[in-house]
Amino acid sequence: MSAAAVTIAALGKTYPNGTRALDAVSLTLAPGEIVAVVGGSGCGKSTLLRVLAGLDRASDGRVSVGGTPVEGPHPAVGIVFQEPRLLPWLNVADNVGFGLVTLPPAERRARVAETLSRVGLVGYGRRWPRELSGGQAQRVAIARALVTRPSVLLLDEPFSALDAFTRADLQDHLLDLWAESRPTLLLVTHDIEEALVLADRVVVLKPRPGRIAALHDVAVPRPRDRVSPEFEVEKRALLATLGRSLARTPGEEAFPAAAI
């Protein structure tokens, strides 16, 4: 087996205001693996992703991608934020091609067109971001992250702002995209079902300070049916894990029931 795609070793993060966001988090992701990170608000999910993306610095421990320590944004790491964060002054094609300026124009156009067709937005290249629906805008954001062919794709609650139908649609779509080039995916979510639909492994974080409470392997084979009995069994098992890991912190914010 090849080397780990992502290695997180004893990662800790303390913000300047003294908040300990992460403490002694260790995790290894194999190439092509899909890992979901779940946990309530304030448990350091997003911080973990930002450190991996090179947008925030680790206070202690270390993080490496493909064997190289992360010291800033890494060319092999793509990220999709909770909001699409498209640049409103660029049309869809230029937004997707934003990270490709070093390529010759013809090649860039070809790559952008190919990626737009992969996310199901053929013919949308000349549209402005303001003309897109929320789901379409997030597809463009995914295309922008995928067009550079990253080996690791980080997703920070990418579908949380979308309605339930669009969300399920984009989850399936993300799996299709993953199946084509098999990047390593690390997905932060507060949605248990989303984690179970997508991930090979679910990491449960607990807050104050953010640390790993449990690891849960998802045994259901893909494609996963959200209403099948096995899926239901898996969901109960994960909820039980969550319950156990959170049981010893009375008085703290429980795992948000609304997200389940």
């Binding site: 947008l55 964060r85 640049l87 409103p88 660029l90 990270g99 402005w128």
Partner: protein, 281 residues
């Protein structure tokens, strides 16, 4: 004379319909014609009142006399000379004010240290009515063009400085982060993220700067000029020629509106992505 009437109509009409569209007025109000009803009615009423002897028209001449004055002035080539002098002053002062305001605003917006160092002083200077500088500028730069252009440049500087600084300081951190994810260098970040992001506010700042430039050129020409539209105003007052004053005021209105419309039109292609332009499609 048609050369005068014509830019008047196109300039006002184009701007009027655009303004109305931007504010979302109902269709029947957005037409050019409705905006002209009031001024035309007032002008016609005054013309009739003077013609019928109801009013004297000595201090406020009727439109026909103002029009005749305009024809006279333009026929002798005098109007063109005054317009050239004034427009030249506004353009040079505007250019200097824009360059200085943009540079200072960009530095203060980009660097918190520069902002804390420079902004309080500039805000203090901004509180001084710009006309108060006139005696000093005359002492420093003389009575001729330099002091006039300096005054206009000062007037243009502040709105541009404020607009650029506020716009840069308020660019969305999330958008800037996108640039960081794609590992843009400092200059590339400025060129590909910051500049396009502030462009809409920058255009607004330029337009208010230009408006102030037109305001200050009058003050500048009051302080002793031998040509320019401001000189026509002073001359009209001293020689008791209200028709010349009103004629110069009308030319100011046309030129101000025209240059603003030109600036707006020149920048519009860069702002097509904005939501507001959708109404213009």
């Amino acid at each position: 004379m048609t050369t005068l009437d014509h830019p008047d109509e196109t300039g006002l009409a184009g701007a009027a319909s655009r303004d109305a569209g931007a504010r979302g007025l109902p269709g029947w109000l957005s037409g050019v014609g409705v905006g002209l009803v009031l001024p035309v009615a007032l002008a016609a009423g005054w013309e009739l009142a003077v013609a019928s002897g109801l009013a004297g028209g000595r201090l406020m001449p009727p439109p026909s006399r103002i029009f005749a004055t305009l024809v006279d002035l333009s026929g002798s080539g005098e109007l063109a000379r005054h317009i050239t002098a004034t427009v030249w002053r506004v353009l040079v002062g505007f250019a200097i004010g824009v360059v200085a305001g943009t540079a200072a605003g960009a530095l203060a917006g980009y660097s918190a240290i520069v902002r804390r160092l420079v902004d309080p002083t500039l805000q203090g200077l901004r509180a001084i009515p710009s006309i108060a500088w006139v005696p000093l500028f005359i002492l420093w730069l003389g009575i001729f063009e330099e002091s006039k252009i300096a005054l206009i440049a000062v007037g243009v500087f502040f709105p541009v400085y404020l607009g650029v600084m506020a716009a840069i300081a308020s660019v969305d951190r999330k958008i800037v982060e996108v640039g960081r994810v794609f590992r843009l260098s400092g200059p590339a970040l400025v060129r590909r993220i910051l500049l396009p992001a502030i462009l809409p506010s920058y255009v607004v700042a330029l337009r208010s700067g230009l408006g102030l430039g037109w305001m200050f050129v009058v003050a500048a020409e009051f302080m002793g000029a031998s040509e320019g539209l401001g000189y026509l105003l002073v001359d009209g007052q001293q020689l008791g020629k209200p028709d010349q004053i009103v004629a110069a005021i009308l030319v100011f209105a046309v030129l101000g509106k025209l240059t603003d419309a030109l600036l707006a039109a020149a920048t519009a292609p860069f702002l097509r992505w904005q939501d507001t332009v959708e109404t213009a499609r």
